[in-house]
Symmetry: C2
Subunit: 494 residues, 2 copies
């Protein structure tokens, strides 16, 4: 339905994006925030058509998609508010000191946009991490122009959203090409975008193979560029027995719900649960299995994802020593995914890294440890993760410090007595983690700090006040927080 | 004199560094600051021996080395102060909201150290960007353990400094291996360090070839890691005629001093001056040439650097259309570098990228443009730079906005009516720039913000106050600035 852009067309799009960036980078924080709020309004104005189209393309239920659109609108408006407040600008001012030897010049620093950003949206969040999602919002707030490659699995949805963004751009009298939307089911389009000289950064949400390929292309360029790829994660959950004993059934119910939420198609889905062999762990496994068994299969995003789920799950279940605990009935329609729980010994898990790989869907593996030292070994040797969760009492946390330290070392967010699914959009959110969870653990893909991925600092030395950007003028006309002569302040400089 | 570490020894060093990191990452901001201040004290206590050794190894004069040690001490103490203030921690707190649907959990985020950091010091700053230099100070402030590979050109100096750091580590009752010092003249030692699984980041100051090689090794690892390589820069200076006319002789004197400062061995040395063909430009070139002619040759850091200077300069001068303006007398001792000025037309410069390459030493090329559109073309097409400088009146800046925008796009620091040499150690300093000036334009190698290179965020979700790090506790016992529910504050949370 939507033909791939030609490689020639991609070249033109990239150059147009740079031309638009040259104008957009000089917009005020308020202009950017206004644009983002306009996009939010236009997204709402897409009404039922957008929801219905997304339902057809993703099999996600209406209530979920309405909720996700609301989340996307919240992202746009909350990042807009953050943009206006200027925290991501990181303004720093050191005033001149003519009495120093040699004399110290006046120097002022702020963040500016990196340049044109390419966004590859995710299949599992057709709104919140797609065309007008977190990466696009972050890049626009940063002062960057954006090229979105429509996700082939929801290209119609993406087109409706792109038109809404176009309308907002026009309404705000900004250059049309600060946002461009391209189609490309083939990998050549993605490669042409990432390797184009005008492109200065990439946002991606998807598989490890896809993200790593973009990362490699970006680093092999003559001028390497940053790639923020959010890839796989199995989000380990560590069960400590005292806490588990107090409410094994409730925790099992809570985890059955978390594992099967959205047919398990969340990057924070708990795909690994690590416990200590004991009667209470047996009880937990039994209850979790029963709850999973009674959960209905449901349609996944598309047939390719359903097929991959069955294949990866089958491969995991075929590994030596892995035992199926329970599963729900499979609807054999080629697109549904049936929730499944398996279990394995820690010894086997530590040896077999196939079991460390993400099975994207409603699947979780319970690893049974002989003792705490085995649990420690797993925490020490797991690959990088978006999240880790600990189920434990305060006493247990205090008594197992080395375990907690090892867990902190492998993840971006550490949850106590909760579930990893549910990613709040707020400053304190770290959605990211050590490789291979993401390609850059130093940044978050969610929350206003996500803006920081697409900026770089520039210093102005010895510039008179009238030539400085508003962010750095003596009077602080934007009323933003700045570090002035080593102190945080909103005060003007006398 | 110092044998290279074996590859087996490097493996042990890296693992020891990780073991030490596991303890050091839990130190308080105050403990880290105390360590850094102790290192400063020990550096001072090295006394004349350190200065004399560095003089022998680098040919740098005593006054310069005493100044550089003072700068290094200032770096350590000012980063220590910043470390204690906690700005680099970027604490963010969002308190729970049980009335939200679904209920919003309590989430708190802060920066933690990436892990063991390898530092490759520079030859031209034996103190300030070497063993106890900016990278080491940043990494220690970030909570990372450090392995320094001694620069082969000043291995004795490096050894004295390393012993001073060791003493400070012992005096602060910290694990000995949070700082380790290794030798390696061969590239294999560097490769073994950068590709070791325990190493999580790299700091480097040196040549493009060296930095790019480390960057490639780091990105080809199974788990890629960030490399902060500060590489070459020719630091273009754009001369606008009105300002130049007002003081051509003074500006020529100022630039002759900047070009020859430290025998031109600064990464911010102005190696490229772009002007508009005119009588005043001729006057400037003539004066600059005369001043350069009357500057004495001086010993460079070592014979390899002196040889490279002569070779690269000769290659530049041999390019078609390049004309020698003036030079000072060469002392034929195999180690001295003679200041040299050449000139070329903009047309040739734009076509011949050999002329865009850094000639490390007291050399600068004056490019003569027919008109402003040629100057604009140069600004648009130059490779990434640490700094750019504009010599112009306020009117000229206002009338040449597209030139200023293009210049901003290619550099990290933009100086008005000054010289690029002289890099203040302060928050507002951006010492970095688009590739190939550095491998990561998003960070500075100088100033307290340099700490941010070696940290990553971690979120704590639903943790009780007593289990949280001090940085995130309700009472704010460290009295640091935090973003609490979207607002900057030092207030405690009720």
């Amino acid at each position: 339905m939507f033909a791939d852009h030609s490689l020639e067309a991609i070249k033109i799009v990239a150059q147009q994006s740079f031309e638009a960036f040259k104008i957009y980078r000089n917009t005020s924080l308020k202009q950017r925030a206004d644009l983002m709020r306009s996009i939010a309004v236009e997204l709402e104005a897409c009404g039922d058509e957008l929801i219905q189209t997304a339902m057809q393309e993703t099999n996600l239920p209406e209530v979920r998609l309405r909720g996700e659109r609301a989340r996307t609108i919240f992202q746009l408006t909350s990042y807009a508010a953050a943009c206006e407040k200027g925290e991501a600008i990181e303004a720093r001012i050191d005033t001149a000191d003519p009495n120093k030897n040699p004399p110290k010049p006046d120097i002022r620093k702020m963040m500016i946009g990196l340049g044109p950003v390419v966004v590859f949206g995710s299949s599992n969040f057709p709104f919140a991490y797609s065309t007008a999602g977190g990466d696009t919002a972050s890049a626009l707030a940063a002062g960057c122009s954006v090229i979105v490659k429509a996700h082939p699995a929801h290209a119609k949805t993406s087109t409706i959203v792109a038109k809404a963004i176009d309308k907002a751009v026009v309404n705000n009298n900004l250059p049309a090409n600060i946002f461009q939307h391209v189609y490309g089911a083939s990998f050549e389009v993605g490669k042409a975008l990432v390797t184009n000289e005008y492109i200065k950064a990439v946002g991606f949400t998807g598989s490890f193979i896809g993200g790593k390929q973009l990362f490699d292309w970006a680093n092999q360029r003559k001028e390497p560029i940053p790639v923020f790829a959010e890839m796989g994660s199995i989000n380990p959950v560590f069960l400590l027995n005292e806490k588990l004993s107090s409410s094994a059934k409730e925790i099992a119910q809570q985890y059955a719900a978390s594992i099967t939420l959205g047919v398990g198609q969340f990057c924070t889905n708990p795909g690994l649960i690590i416990g200590l062999k004991s009667d209470v762990l047996n009880l937990f496994i039994d209850e979790l299995g029963k709850a999973i068994h009674s959960t209905q299969s449901a349609k996944m995003l598309h047939e390719g994802i359903a097929r991959a789920y069955q294949e990866k799950k089958t491969k995991a279940l075929q590994q030596n020593d892995v035992v199926l605990v329970n599963e729900s009935e499979l609807i054999n329609d080629g697109i549904s995914g049936n929730p499944t729980i398996a279990t394995v010994s820690a010894k086997t898990f530590l040896k077999n890294t196939v079991l460390h790989q993400e099975v994207f869907g409603p699947y979780s593996l319970v690893v049974q440890c002989d003792d705490m030292s085995e649990m420690n070994l797993i925490a020490e040797h797991l690959e990088g993760q978006l999240t880790s969760t600990i189920i434990g009492t305060i006493d247990e946390i205090q008594q197992n410090d080395s375990l907690i330290q090892s867990i902190k070392n492998i993840c971006g967010r550490i949850i106590l007595n909760g579930v990893p699914t549910g990613v709040e959009v707020c400053y304190s959110m770290q959605h990211g983690g050590p490789f291979p969870a993401t390609t850059d653990s130093r940044f978050s893909a969610v929350g206003p700090d996500a803006i920081k991925r697409f900026v770089r600092p520039i210093s102005f030395q010895n510039w008179p006040d009238e030539l400085l950007p508003d962010e750095l003028k003596n009077a602080n006309p934007l009323n933003i927080w700045r570090i002035v002569n080593n102190e945080f302040t909103k005060n003007a400089i006398p």
